[in-house]
């Protein structure tokens, strides 16, 4: 360690969230050039401390001193400016952008990051790869590299090695050591004792929100750390309550729940255990060791890959949580909000499973239901004062509602996943007492808790899961906290990094990425080329229909057109371009807004406004004047777009509703300007739409369209603003955390939408020579149709303008072709609608297929 003046001093920091005390008194001292480990059980307060350090939350009490100066950070940006950067477990990377684009978004030069990439062993990472295609461990390294490039003096790493195989973890250590060598410091949060021992200079241990000690980390310090993590908690359940429990013996060999060789991906490997009636079986594990997947498989939430689950000897086929519930297996998830209905009442929440089957969809027997619900509520002593809306209840009461639900429904085995996380002591006691009562009455309980000391007090037996396997099993009498802690850290059984490493298959591909792909069964670089090629093509087609589908579709239609109408001449080509221009502009406008994550149902009306404005003002004007007026109308279009956008952002009313109503308003404005079709424009102006350039085949309308897209969209797309618009649509939160002003991005999208709508309206004036206030009606929905068919995802962040524009041409061709075929052109609407329906259903199907895989 170089230098002795403390870089960071945290003194007695406290923080509470409502009733939950996250930190009571946290103290931490860090000198320059130090790697300092922060350890503690789940809920000890590590994440909270980190968030306070990096400016996400303000502390309630205590001081933070950096280089001798007391600081308070109000935002991550402030903390970053002071040199503190954190790498969270959730990478702030936008999924639909490439690595390179994400770096640009966050103002990080790619060259700087690439050197970090090679330090971290992922130099074979393609910066043009989409984030969503990259395995999660690599993303964490990318996040780390990005953090490093801002040259922090203090780097905070939260469980950075949790998902990394040994070789990549080793690279991270090398980078950390060199970082330390430059006089910077690192706070390293980890559960892995061996890593901490090998890497860190000192360790601070947090327990229940209090720093309980600091230790020099050297060989053999594990014991000291473990003993620091233990400790006497005076608020623990008193020993007398943990009196020997008599397990009501199961009826012979038919266990209430038996799990055999359960496998799930790389998270669960041949897990086997059994649970008797009347027994409480505890599951002890650190974060992310496979316990979540275990519970999910038993509860029917996900389907296991291998192995079997049996209840009373009956093998179960669990395709849906309903199947598990029918077999008596009910789940109390850790995140209670996952299971609860926030806007509904306690009663409805508790009664939810009672109506799950079609036989109960009829009239509810209010009396019976009320009886069952109130029984359950009373038994759990739920505070019903905030009866009407569940979200107003405290965390503890909410958790009780979840349990009450199953009491009211009836069950055999209760699967409790960390039921007391973030809950006050009093409620915790109640819940544990209730679990014991239920077991005494014959039910079985599978209980995962991150509070290791409480396992021995509630459970009869316990198993320890590490790396997706059961590494220990013991009766309650042997399950003291120290034993559990050691086993949970893989200390007694396997080396700390062992489990994931053992699963590493020597791969045939080169580089770390390929190895990770093998480990995590991802198809980033497929080792087997031949059959995978078809898959890759199919993947690309599905993901970029605009790239593959649109030009193909257009060609098909063109060929069909020429086949139908062999005398397709330049005049027809001109007509096509003129007819398609307004729709193409509407499609472009809608595409931009949709890409930003919104929707605009007023586009048609804005086209109409631009159209009638032009027709009315240009009526007696000269060509020169008309051009100036056109410019003014373009500005007006952008302004209208801005109004739409501002209303959406400020009013917080969903954009569907806002633009639906403003569509009405702009439509009325159009009517105000011009009551009936009329007006006019100077012939030269009209020629801008109806004339041709160079050849008879190239209509001016087409030129206008291409110029508009080239001059407006392409520069935006290439610019940082374009990137921000895509990022906002793809993942608003990741974009925000990368420093994007998401409101501004959305506003820009609406402004561009208004601009293109105005171009469309002007185009109409050019091609028709008049203005019509009702002109826009069709364009809103048809434009949306073109966007959908053109391969732009309505969820935002993906696609472009070109696809929808081509789709607009296809949609225009359809009625033309029908006329050629002497078929009623109104069939065009049918075809249009059917196309949309088919395209979106195919998209839905593709998503299902992809998720299944």
């Amino acid at each position: 360690m170089n230098g002795s003046a403390p870089l960071l001093e945290v003194r007695d920091v406290a923080k509470r969230f409502g009733a939950v005390i996250a930190l009571k008194s946290a103290t931490l001292t860090l000198v320059r050039g130090e790697i300092h480990a922060l350890m503690g059980a789940n809920g000890a307060g590590k994440s909270t401390l980190v968030k306070i350090l990096t400016g996400v939350h303000p502390a309630d009490a205590g001081t933070i001193t950096i280089n001798g100066a007391t600081r308070v950070f109000r935002s991550p940006a402030e903390a970053r400016r002071a040199g503190i950067v954190s790498v969270y477990q959730d990478p702030a990377l936008v999924p639909d952008l490439t690595i390179g684009q994400n770096m640009r978004l966050a103002d990080v030069p790619l060259a700087e990051v690439r050197s970090s990439f090679s330090d971290l062993g992922i130099e074979d990472l393609d910066p043009n790869a989409l984030v969503r295609d990259i395995p999660y461990p690599v993303l964490r390294l990318v996040d780390l590299a990005r953090a490093l490039s801002s040259n922090p003096t203090l780097l905070v790493l939260d469980e950075i090695t949790a998902a990394l195989p040994a070789n990549l973890a080793e690279r991270v250590f090398t980078v950390m050591r060199s970082w330390r060598g430059r006089g910077n410091s690192v706070i390293f949060i980890s559960h892995r004792m061996a890593e901490v021992g090998a890497l860190c200079d000192r360790t601070t241990v947090l327990r229940d929100g209090v720093s309980v000690g600091v230790t020099e980390t050297a060989r053999g310090s594990e014991e000291r750390i473990v003993s620091l993590m233990l400790g006497v908690d005076p608020t623990k359940l008193s020993p007398s309550e943990s009196a020997q429990r008599h397990i009501r013996g199961g009826d012979g060999s038919r266990a209430a729940l038996e799990v055999r060789d359960l496998c799930y991906g790389h998270m669960l490997k041949n897990v086997s255990f059994s649970l008797q009636a009347g027994e409480i079986l505890g599951v002890a594990a650190l974060e992310g060791q496979g316990q979540q997947e275990l519970f999910d498989c038993i509860a029917g939430v996900t389907r296991n890959d291998g192995g079997e689950i049996a209840v009373h000897g009956q093998k179960l086929k669990l395709n849906h949580p309903g199947d598990a519930i029918a077999a008596g297996l009910v789940l109390v998830p850790a995140n209670r909000l996952q299971a609860l209905l926030p806007q509904r009442s306690i009663h409805e929440n508790v009664a939810l499973p009672l109506v799950r089957n079609p036989s109960n969809w009829g009239l509810i027997n209010a009396g019976t239901e009320r009886h069952r619900v109130s029984n359950a509520v009373k038994r759990l002593q739920i505070d019903t004062r905030a009866e009407s809306q569940l979200r107003r209840l405290s965390g503890g009461n909410q958790q009780k509602v979840v349990i009450a639900r199953w009491i009211a429904t009836g069950f055999q085995t209760l699967l409790c996943f960390d039921p007391t996380r973030g809950i006050d002591i009093g409620t915790k006691h109640q819940i544990y007492r209730l679990l014991r009562e239920m077991a005494d009455a014959g039910s079985s309980v599978l209980l995962f808790t991150s509070e290791l000391p409480e396992i021995a007090l509630v459970c009869d037996r316990t198993i320890v899961v590490f790396g997706g396997e059961i590494v220990a099993e013991m009766p309650a009498s042997e399950a003291d906290e120290e034993t559990l802690l050691r086993a949970a850290h893989g200390l007694e059984i396997a080396p700390a990094m062992g489990a994931v490493q053992r699963a590493t298959v020597r791969s045939s591909g080169t580089g770390a990425i390929a190895e990770l792909a093998n480990n995590f069964s991802l198809s980033v670089q497929a080792p087997n080329q031949s059959s995978e090629l078809i898959d890759k093509i199919w993947d690309a087609v599905v993901r970029y229909p605009a790239l593959f589908g649109m030009p193909v579709l257009f060609l098909v239609f063109m060929m069909a057109t020429v086949a139908i109408h062999p005398r397709f001449d330049s005049f027809d080509a001109q007509s096509l371009a003129m007819a398609a221009l307004p729709l193409a502009c509407a499609a472009a406008a809608q595409a931009i807004v949709v890409i930003s994550g919104g929707i605009d149902l007023s586009i048609g009306s804005v086209i109409a406004v631009a159209n009638v404005l032009a027709a009315r003002s240009m009526n007696e004007a000269s060509f020169g004047e008309a051009l100036w007026l056109a410019l003014a109308i373009l500005v007006a279009g952008a302004a209208i777009g801005a109004v739409n956008g501002l209303l959406v952002i400020v009013s917080r009313v969903p954009d569907v509703i806002v633009t639906l109503t403003t569509g009405f308003i702009w439509g009325g404005v159009a009517l105000l300007i011009l009551e009936k079709p009329g007006g006019g424009a100077p012939p030269e102006f009209g020629n801008l739409g109806t004339g041709t350039l160079i050849t008879e085949w190239l209509s001016n309308s087409l030129v206008v369209l291409v110029v508009a897209v080239a001059l407006v969209w392409i520069p935006v797309r290439m610019s940082r603003m374009g990137l921000r618009i895509y990022a906002t649509g793809s993942d608003k939160i990741a974009a925000f955390r990368s420093g994007v002003n998401v409101e501004l991005a959305r506003l820009m999208a609406y402004v561009l939408g208004g601009l293109f709508s105005a171009i469309g309206g002007l185009g109409l004036t050019m091609t028709t020579g008049i203005g019509s206030p009702h002109a826009g009606v069709l364009y809103t929905l048809s434009g949306l149709a073109a966007v959908v068919i053109g391969g732009v995802s309505l969820t935002g962040g993906r696609g472009g303008v070109v696809g929808p524009v081509i789709a607009a041409f296809v949609l225009t061709l359809i009625p033309a072709d029908l006329i050629f075929l002497n078929i009623d052109p109104n069939f065009g609407q049918v075809i249009q609608g059917t196309l949309i329906v088919l395209v979106v259903m195919a998209g839905g199907l593709a998503t299902i297929v992809r998720d299944r895989r």
Partner: protein, 329 residues
């Protein structure tokens, strides 16, 4: 610590806040007050307008909107939307009037309802089973249906279409000169929808799905079944609304229904149902439909030109929606 003036300010603020809370919990009352307000404005602008005949007219015009918005309510409660309702309404009505001569009144009604069934099933297939976004799916099916009907309408220009007597009666007649007959269709529908939403497991689950779809799955609910049925019901209600409309105008003019799309959604929003689903209900929608009908009449009364009417209509609905989102968040 605090002086008496502080205390009185605090108690006044507390009163105001509790009034707000009360309104939040009893939005129906706020809505009824709003309705009365609009009626009051009508009376003020042109004294003597509000009389039993006017009320009867209002109810007559509100009924088809109310029936249309019933289906829309049920769908929006799950967080969805149905943009195909007007096409279905128009299509069903048209089918009914053009097959009545050939197949008889009752069969014609069945055929009309059949269209609703088919379109609703297609919507359900896409939305419930394939997970397509309701906005886009119903947009597509709406266009499809409209196109099919237009084509069909041109084919049978030759043959005659008639509006069966009982349909015309429901659409236009009044009992005792005052009570519109279409109320006798609307009221039972309203009762059924209200009971379904408030007293049945099905209704409960619609709310639950809108509130937390994943939570429903965890509780063992097979969500797709409910959504499928929901969209079919919505389409069937749209068919019924179409019948009433046709009875209104006594012709099978196809364009009338399209002006009902925005109002059908607006009535639901104004009535307090969140567009994200999970809360609200049909009772609010009923008042919302009445408000919109009165508003429409009010704007006509103002004799303002069509454009102003349109602008005001859009603006007022926007303001109501914005006020609502402020009130309920």
């Amino acid at each position: 610590m605090s002086g008496s003036s502080d205390a009185s300010t605090r108690s006044r603020r507390l009163e105001a806040r509790s009034l707000l809370f009360w309104f939040q919990r009893n939005t129906i009352v706020a809505l009824i007050l709003l309705l009365l307000l609009f009626i009051g404005v009508v009376e003020v602008i042109k004294p003597g307008t509000v009389n039993p005949v006017w009320l009867s007219n209002t109810l007559l015009f509100a009924a088809p909107l109310g029936i249309l918005a019933a289906g829309q309510t049920m769908v929006m409660l799950t967080g969805g939307i149905d943009l195909s309702v007007v096409s279905v309404a128009m299509g069903s009505a048209f089918l009914m009037t053009t097959t009545a001569l050939k197949f008889g009144n009752m069969s014609a009604v069945a055929i009309g309802l059949g269209l609703g069934l088919v379109v609703g099933a297609i919507n359900g297939l896409g939305i419930a089973l394939l997970g397509v976004q309701p906005l886009v799916m119903t947009l597509g099916t709406g266009l499809m249906t409209q196109g099919v009907i237009i084509v069909y309408s041109q084919r049978i220009l030759a043959s005659r279409s008639i509006v069966p007597d009982f349909i015309r009666a429901i659409g236009s007649d009044r009992l005792g000169g005052l009570i519109p007959l279409d109320l006798f269709l609307w009221l039972p529908i309203a009762a059924l929808v209200l009971i379904t939403l408030q007293q049945t497991g099905f209704g409960r689950l619609l709310y639950a799905i809108g509130d937390n779809r994943e939570g429903c799955r965890l509780a063992g609910v097979r969500v797709w079944r409910l959504l499928f049925i929901d969209y079919v019901i919505c389409a069937l209600l749209a068919s019924l609304a179409g019948f009433v409309l046709v009875g209104h105008t006594n012709s099978s003019d196809l364009s009338l229904a399209s002006t009902y799309l925005l109002p059908s959604i607006a009535a639901v929003i104004i009535g307090g149902t969140s567009i994200f689903g999970g809360s609200g209900g049909y009772s609010g929608t009923i008042i919302g439909a009445l408000i919109l009908t009165v508003l429409d009449g009010l704007l006509t009364l103002l004799d303002s030109p069509e454009p102003i009417k349109q602008i005001l209509y859009g603006a007022i609905i926007f303001v109501l929606a914005a006020a609502y989102s402020r009130l309920t968040t």
